[in-house]
Symmetry: C2
Subunit: 337 residues, 2 copies
């Protein structure tokens, strides 16, 4: 029999909570027999659900962190919120991982303060899939660290490569997001990061540009959290703009409406491929236990996919692999936070 994986789940996080979260948890419990859920949230939400589902325990919390609250302030003010309580379950060994579709900032703060960094990790980082046809590509950091030192990117590269391997990449190629292919291109920051990546990351394949993020040149795109966040949201924005425009154009006549109806399944498939809701969740890499943050608009399917990712990361010991990789790195070149 497979070993049980216990995932703490924030029932209150996200724009469609708790309904979408509960529906996704129910689907995940049905699909993954090894999964046990510790469902964190207001008692009136989590207790009736837990009573009706096998392998689901209710963890009653008295507070909820809203999407627009200041992360650090909310973390301090709401120690009994579902996000903070979920992180505590991981810290105390009562859960193997935590998943929330709530405030990214609050989850990151709680994860860093409660689950805490692995030894040798300068900065935990947010890593996410980016749409790329027929290939799994991840980008790191996508917003947790707006200000980075070049050496952080070496760690991002190592951690994100291990995550890319979890997702199925073999010998993942790492690219540095930059504004030219040559080593001497880019900002002073990018040039220094290039030098360090070349020295310390065997999978480093050189610079990649904005257009390469989605064309499969690399398996792992490393960048500072500011640039990564801008690039990620630009991808999302261009996808939305183009599909909105197509819809508008195709609705303009009966002839185009009929033609568009034939192509609808293809459009749907492609639209899903650039829909952040479909990516599942983004892990915070570098913590002592897995933390997955879902998109605020997560659907039941996104919740289910996120829990599948959480299970895989526990079963493959992603945290242990990162700890080993970064501990070794640390021995070679000490990193000061």
């Amino acid at each position: 029999m497979e070993k049980t994986v216990t995932v703490a789940v924030d029932a209150m996080g996200g724009d469609n909570a708790p309904e979408a979260i509960l529906a996704g948890v129910a689907d995940a419990l049905a699909a993954y027999p090894q999964l046990t859920v510790k469902l964190c949230g207001l008692p009136e939400v989590v207790e009736p659900f837990a009573a009706q589902h096998e392998r689901c325990d209710a963890v009653a919390c008295s507070q909820v962190i809203e999407m627009d609250e200041h992360p650090a302030q909310a973390f301090k003010a709401k120690p009994d919120s579902s996000i903070v309580v979920g992180c505590k379950l991981v810290k105390d060994g009562q859960a193997d991982a935590f998943y929330s579709a709530g405030s990214t900032g609050a989850c990151f703060t709680a994860g860093t303060m409660v689950i805490r960094r692995l030894k040798g990790v300068a900065r935990p980082a947010l890593c996410t899939n980016v749409p790329c046809p027929g290939k799994t590509v991840v980008m790191c950091d996508v917003g947790a660290n707006a200000d980075c030192k070049p050496e952080y990117l070496v760690q991002f590269a190592k951690m994100a490569s291990l995550y890319a391997e979890l997702l199925g990449a073999r010998d993942p190629k790492v690219g540095l997001l930059n504004i030219g292919e040559e080593e001497t291109k880019g900002s002073a920051f990018a040039q220094e990061a290039h030098t360090l990546l070349k020295r310390d990351v065997p999978q480093f394949a050189g610079n990649c540009e904005g257009r390469d993020i989605v064309n499969g040149t690399c398996d792992v795109v490393v960048t500072d959290g500011f640039t990564g966040n801008v690039a990620l949201k630009t991808i999302e924005g261009v996808g939305k703009m183009l599909f909105d425009e197509m819809k508008r154009m195709f609705m303009s006549s009966m002839k185009t409406k009929l033609a568009a109806a034939v192509l609808k399944p293809s459009f749907k498939q492609l639209k899903d491929s650039v829909d952040p809701d479909m990516f599942g969740a983004a892990p915070v890499l570098g913590l002592r236990g897995p933390l997955f943050i879902g998109h605020g608009s997560s659907s039941p399917l996104a919740v289910k996919n996120s829990l599948a990712l959480a299970i895989r990361s526990v079963e493959s010991d992603l945290t242990g692999k990162i700890a080993t990789a970064l501990a070794n790195a640390d021995a070679d070149e000490p990193v000061k936070a």
Copy 2:
């Protein structure tokens, strides 16, 4: 009768040079009666063309800067190249503007060294249209200044707003590209830029995010050249990826092929809207004379559109307007380069 506008044109620049450039110049000469062209390039290219066209003078050059040469080295090594000679014509008052689809770096270097900065301009910047349905949106800087100081962005905002007005925007709204809407979001650089923009740029409307670049939230997106270049190339990459994928999907069966054929004009229109080739050219803002740099893959239509832009910028005295706006700014708060 309209006043003559003399534009120096680099016949040798771009992947499709000289054929695409010459075809575009011929179209522009036919379309714009006020245009006179000084065609810079190898004598065997420019002399036969000039002999066959009214209002076109050949300016024979003995050198050509290739696309992949190091900009500063090429500028020094090739003083008789079409790019350097074109800039000299502007500097000497023999041309009102210069257009090249050659190496962006070499054009920028030559522009800065030969045409030179306007008084009060800390850093000339590259400004380009971004695709946004039904609206003209420009982004600045998109790659000329990989490392910026926050105060440069105030100048970028002022210069790009004047360019947006030239393109038809009324009271252009300026957004700072950042990773959150709130004033306190983003890197230390972005936060300081926010403070300065709020203080010094009346049209400043706050932060915008990656997804807002193409959704019309702002008329002018200001950012450092590193982030702007990544965002611009990401837009290009996502557009290409989605259209390539659609083509692949639609070719999969006879039924979808037929439906796609009906929608072809709509696809074409939309594809053009994200095609950098269609944007015309990107001006370098902040020089003592207009310099427009075209995409390397510029088609004859792109060349013609670029020359139309150059004519408009001369006729509306964009350079004079920028000089006035920045000279005033300079009086308030001296900017050190």
